[in-house]
C-alpha cells in the first residue's frame, strides 16, 4: 500500500522534460534529483514543494523519447513513491520497474486532482481517494514486477535469487 499527495502533469511528457539532456553528465544521484521535471513548463511549484512520499499522476505516453534511465533516477531521487499514468512509453515503464519505482496504468486519472491524498494498492491495481470517497481501477502489476520493485530494483532482485 502506498499513500501520498498528488502532483499532476499532462500528456506526452518526454524524458528530456523529465530530465533535460544538459544534465546528462551528472552522476551524483542527489544532484540529479534537483532537476526533476525541470523541462516541463510551469513546474516551478512542483520543483519547490515536492516532498518525499508524494505521488505523480500523469497523462498519456509518459516518459516517451530517449531511453535515458536518468528520468527514473531523478523522479525517484526527489522522493516520488509512485507514478500513475494514463499510459507509459514502454522503455520508461521497464526502466521504472528495473530501478524499483512503482508505476501503475489507470484510465481514470482525470478524476484525480492535484493535492488529493490517495492510496495505491499495487497488487490489485486499485487507487482509493478517501476524501472524495472514490475508487479507480488501474492495471495491477504482475507478480514478477512486484517482486522486482520489492527488491528495490532488478539488480538487487537478481542478486537475491542467486
Amino acid at each position: 500500500m502506498i499513500k501520498g499527495k498528488v502532483w499532476k502533469f499532462g500528456d506526452n511528457i518526454d524524458t528530456d522534460q523529465i530530465y533535460p539532456g544538459k544534465y546528462l553528465p551528472l552522476t551524483d544521484k542527489k544532484e540529479m534529483a534537483r532537476h526533476a521535471m525541470e523541462g516541463v513548463p510551469d513546474a516551478e511549484k512542483f520543483i519547490k514543494n515536492v516532498k518525499s512520499g508524494d505521488i505523480m499522476v500523469v497523462g498519456k505516453n509518459f516518459g516517451c523519447g530517449s531511453s535515458r534511465e536518468h528520468a527514473v533516477v531523478t523522479i525517484k531521487g526527489v522522493g516520488i513513491v509512485c507514478v500513475i499514468a494514463e499510459s507509459f512509453a514502454s522503455i520508461f515503464y521497464r526502466n521504472a520497474i528495473n530501478l524499483g519505482l512503482p508505476v501503475i496504468e489507470c484510465k481514470d486519472i482525470k478524476l484525480i486532482k492535484e493535492g488529493d491524498d490517495i492510496i495505491v494498492d499495487l497488487t490489485k491495481g486499485e487507487i482509493v481517494n478517501p476524501d472524495k470517497n472514490e475508487n479507480y481501477k488501474g492495471l495491477p502489476l504482475s507478480g514478477l514486477e512486484l517482486d522486482i520493485i520489492e527488491a528495490n530494483g532488478l539488480i538487487n532482485y537478481l542478486k537475491k535469487q542467486k
Binding site: 531511453s67 534511465e69 526502466n95 528495473n98 530501478l99 514478477l144
Partner: protein
C-alpha cells in the same frame, strides 16, 4: 502461436502467451560506443569483477562516433576496449560498421535467437527471425551477468501486403506507406508479422528496411511469415491488408516519420543534402539501386553515401559502385551509423533541407533548424541529381 510466442516459448521452456511476463534466456547482449560505457560502469558498480554470464555472448559494437570525434567519445571507446580485454567480451572496433548488420554478418544472429542491445533499432534483426529489442542500462548490466531479461510477451498484429511493386518503388516506400496509414502510434507495444505476396520476393536488404521501421510504428519487433492456408492461423490482435501494387514513391516530410506524402505531391522542393545509408537502407542492394540512378550523372546537392558495414563497402568497391558515386560527385564515408547519429559530421545549417534514407526525421536531429525528409535510395539519388525532390521514374 504467433512468431514471438514461438520464439519465447522455446527459450522459456513452456508455452507462453501474450500478456505474460517471463524471464527470457539471452543468446546475445550487445552495447554500442554510446550506451556501452554507462553499462560497463554500472556492471562494475553492481558486480565488481565478477565474470560475464558468457563472454562469447557479450558484444560491443562501435558504430556511432567512428572514428571518435572528440576526447570524450575516445575515452568512452577506451572504457569499452579495456572492459573487453578483462572480461573476454568481443569488441567490433571502429573499422566494422553498424552493430546489428555486423553481428549478423559474423554469424552471431541466428533464427530463433533472443538478443538485447542499447539501440532502439535492434529489432531489425526480426528480418532474420531473431527476437531483438532495445533496452536501458540496467537491463544490459543484469543481462551481462545473468544472461536473461524479463519481458512482457506482446500481442501481434498482422500486416498483409498484396501486389507487385511498381518500378522504382521498394521496401522503404512500402513501410512509409504503412506509417502513413497506421501512424507512429500504430503498433504500440505490439509485434508485427508481415505477410503477403509483396514481401515474398524481398531479400535480406528489403526485409531489414521493413523491420527496422517497426520502431517508428512504436512496435516491438517485425517478423516475416508465409501465409499457408493449410495451417491454422494464430490469433492476431488485428489484421491490416494493403494493396501496394499501385503506390508511387513515398516521402516522410518533416518532422515525423508518419507525415508521409507521395513524392510527386512535394516534387520540386529544393534540397541541399542527401544521405544514403543507415541501418534501414545501408545494404549493398540499397547502394546498387542508388548507383543505377546515379550512373553517368552529376549531383546538384551534397551527396553523402555510407555503407552499413565494411563487408558491404568491399562489395560495392568490387562491383564498381564507388567509381559511379565518385564520378557523380558524392562523398563516401566509412561504414557506420553516420548521419543518423545526432551530432555526427554532416550536420545541416539552419534552414537547410536533407533527404535521408534513414528512419527518423525528428526536429533538430541533425542540426537546429535543418529539415530531414525520409525516402528510398532511388528517390534520394534522383533528388540529388535534380537538386530538388524528384520521382526516380522521371529521370
Amino acid at each position: 502461436m504467433t512468431v514471438i510466442e514461438k520464439i519465447l516459448s522455446k527459450k522459456v521452456g513452456r508455452e507462453v502467451t501474450d500478456g505474460e511476463r517471463v524471464w527470457v534466456p539471452l543468446d546475445l547482449v550487445t552495447m554500442r560506443d554510446f550506451g556501452g560505457p554507462n553499462a560497463i560502469l554500472g556492471y562494475k558498480e553492481s558486480f565488481g569483477d565478477a565474470p560475464l554470464f558468457d563472454a562469447k555472448r557479450v558484444a560491443i559494437t562501435f558504430d556511432l562516433h567512428i572514428p571518435p570525434r572528440n576526447e570524450k567519445v575516445a575515452r568512452n571507446q577506451q572504457i569499452c576496449r579495456e572492459f573487453a580485454k578483462v572480461t573476454g567480451a568481443k569488441v567490433f572496433d571502429i573499422n566494422q560498421g553498424i552493430g546489428q548488420h555486423i553481428l549478423w554478418e559474423h554469424g552471431m544472429v541466428q533464427n530463433g535467437n533472443t538478443i538485447i542491445g542499447t539501440d532502439s533499432h535492434m529489432n531489425l534483426l526480426g528480418a532474420f527471425g531473431a527476437f531483438a529489442t532495445g533496452v536501458g542500462t540496467t537491463d544490459i548490466v543484469a543481462g551481462m551477468r545473468y544472461g536473461k531479461f524479463w519481458y512482457h510477451v506482446p500481442k501481434t498484429i498482422k500486416i498483409e501486403l498484396h501486389g507487385k511493386l511498381r518500378k522504382f518503388v521498394s521496401a522503404k516506400d512500402v513501410i512509409l506507406w504503412v506509417l502513413k496509414n497506421l501512424g507512429t502510434d500504430g503498433a504500440i507495444g505490439m509485434a508485427i508479422e508481415f505477410a503477403g505476396e509483396t514481401i515474398e520476393p524481398m531479400g535480406v536488404a528489403e526485409r531489414i528496411t521493413l523491420a527496422s521501421m517497426v520502431t517508428e510504428l512504436s512496435g516491438e519487433i517485425g517478423f516475416f511469415v508465409k501465409s499457408e492456408p493449410s495451417v491454422q492461423s494464430p490469433v492476431y490482435e488485428k489484421t491490416y491488408e494493403f494493396d501496394v501494387s499501385a503506390i508511387s514513391p513515398q516521402i516522410a516530410c518533416p518532422h515525423s516519420p508518419d507525415n508521409v506524402k507521395d513524392v510527386k505531391e512535394v516534387a520540386g522542393t529544393l534540397i541541399d543534402q542527401v544521405f544514403i545509408g543507415s541501418c534501414t537502407n545501408g545494404r549493398y542492394e540499397d547502394l546498387e539501386r542508388a548507383a543505377k540512378i546515379l550512373k553517368g550523372k552529376k549531383v546538384k546537392t551534397r551527396l553523402i553515401i555510407v555503407p552499413a558495414s565494411t563487408k558491404v563497402a568491399q562489395e560495392a568497391l568490387k562491383k564498381g559502385l564507388y567509381e559511379i558515386f565518385f564520378d557523380a560527385g558524392a562523398v563516401v564515408v566509412n561504414p557506420g551509423c553516420s548521419l543518423c547519429t545526432t551530432g555526427h559530421p554532416g550536420i545541416l545549417a539552419p534552414g537547410e533541407r536533407m533527404i535521408s534514407t534513414s528512419n527518423r526525421n525528428f526536429i533538430g536531429k541533425l542540426g537546429k533548424g535543418g529539415e530531414i525528409w525520409l525516402a528510398s535510395p532511388e528517390t534520394a539519388a534522383a533528388s540529388a541529381i535534380k537538386g530538388e525532390i524528384t520521382e526516380p521514374s522521371i529521370l
